[in-house]
C-alpha cells in the first residue's frame, strides 16, 4: 500500500509535535486552547485539536511541563502549562539534533530528485 501525504505527515508528527509544544512554551506559560490555536495555524502540525491533550498529559507525566490554574477575565479558570527545566533541556537536545537531521534529509531529497 502506498502512503498518502497525510499518513506520511502523521508518522512524522509522532515524536516531533511534543517538541513543537515545548518550543511554543519557551515563549511563556500558555493554556490548552491557545496552544492548539498556535499549532493549528499550520495544519501539518495539528490536524485535530483534541489530540493535543493526551500529548500534554504525557509531557506533564514526564515532568517536562507543569500546570497551574489561573483565573481568566473571560470564561472559566484556565490550566496554564509551563516549561520546566527538564523540558527546556529536552527541547535543547531536540534543537541540537533537528538542524543537522533536517538538513541531511533535505540535501538527500534534493540530490536524488
Amino acid at each position: 500500500m502506498l502512503p498518502s501525504p497525510d499518513s506520511v505527515q502523521a508518522q512524522m508528527r509522532k515524536g516531533i509535535l511534543e517538541f513543537c509544544v515545548l518550543a511554543h512554551l519557551r515563549r511563556g506559560p500558555s493554556y490548552g486552547r491557545e496552544i492548539a490555536g498556535v499549532l493549528s495555524r499550520d495544519s501539518s502540525l495539528l490536524t485535530s485539536e483534541g489530540t493535543l491533550y493526551p500529548l500534554l498529559a504525557r509531557l506533564r507525566k514526564q515532568g517536562w511541563v507543569e500546570t497551574s490554574r489561573q483565573a481568566s477575565e473571560l470564561g472559566p479558570p484556565r490550566r496554564y502549562y509551563t516549561l520546566t527545566a527538564d523540558g527546556a533541556a529536552a527541547l535543547e537536545a531536540f534543537s541540537a539534533a533537528w538542524g543537522p537531521f533536517s538538513r541531511s534529509v533535505t540535501t538527500l531529497l534534493e540530490e536524488t530528485r
Binding site: 485535530s48 491533550y53 493526551p54 504525557r58 472559566p76 484556565r78
Partner: protein
C-alpha cells in the same frame, strides 16, 4: 469520574457536548485512569474556554464545528494509546505478573506450614523478593507485593509459634530420667 457539560450551554448543545465527553471517556477506557481523567478534564476545559468566547449562546452548528475541530474521540484515544511508552507498559505487566507469582508462593508456604523445612525457606524467599520488588514497584503491583510479604510473615510467625508451643509442651512433662523408677515395697498385711 462523571462527565458534565460545561457552562453556557442548554438543550441540544448541552446534550451534544455531554455525549462527546462521555464518548471520549469510554474511548479512553484502555488508558491509565489518571491520564484519562486528565485528558477528559482538559478537553472539557477547551470546550468551556471556546464557548466563553461567544457573547451569546452558540448555535448547534457552531458547537458541532467546535467538536469537529477537536476531532473524533477515537482519534484522540488512538493518540493517547500510541503515546503510551511500550517499555513502561511492559514493565508494568511484568511487575503485575511477578507480584502474583510471589503472592502464590507466599500463599503456598502458608498452606505447607506443617512442613517447616519447605515452607520457611519458601516464605523467606517470597517475602524477601517481594520486599526488594516493592521498592521500585508502582500500583497495583505494589499491593500484590505487600500481600506476599504479609503472607510470608504470617507463615514464619505461625511456624515459630507452633514450634514454641511444641517446645513448651514438651518441657512441661518434665525431663525423662534414664534411671529406673524405684518403687517402695508395699508393706505386707
Amino acid at each position: 469520574m462523571t462527565s458534565r457539560p460545561p457552562h453556557r450551554t442548554s438543550g441540544p448543545n448541552e446534550r451534544l457536548i455531554g455525549a462527546y465527553l462521555v464518548d471520549l471517556e469510554h474511548a479512553l477506557s484502555e488508558v491509565e485512569a489518571g491520564e484519562r481523567d486528565d485528558v477528559v478534564a482538559s478537553v472539557r476545559e477547551h470546550i468551556e474556554t471556546a464557548l466563553s468566547e461567544y457573547d451569546r449562546e452558540p448555535t448547534v452548528d457552531e458547537v458541532e464545528t467546535l467538536l469537529g475541530q477537536l476531532g473524533s474521540v477515537d482519534q484522540i484515544a488512538r493518540d493517547a494509546d500510541d503515546g503510551t511508552d511500550r517499555s513502561d507498559r511492559a514493565a508494568q505487566d511484568a511487575g503485575s505478573r511477578d507480584g502474583w507469582i510471589l503472592v502464590g508462593l507466599a500463599g503456598l508456604s502458608l498452606v505447607l506450614f506443617w512442613f517447616p523445612l519447605v515452607s520457611v525457606p519458601l516464605a523467606l524467599g517470597a517475602g524477601i523478593a517481594a520486599a526488594i520488588s516493592l521498592r521500585g514497584a508502582r500500583d497495583p503491583a505494589n499491593r500484590r507485593y505487600r500481600i506476599a510479604i504479609t503472607l510470608s510473615v504470617a507463615t514464619v510467625l505461625i511456624i515459630f509459634l507452633l514450634g514454641l508451643g511444641l517446645v513448651a509442651g514438651g518441657s512441661s512433662t518434665g525431663p525423662v530420667s534414664d534411671q529406673p523408677i524405684e518403687s517402695e515395697p508395699i508393706p505386707a498385711g
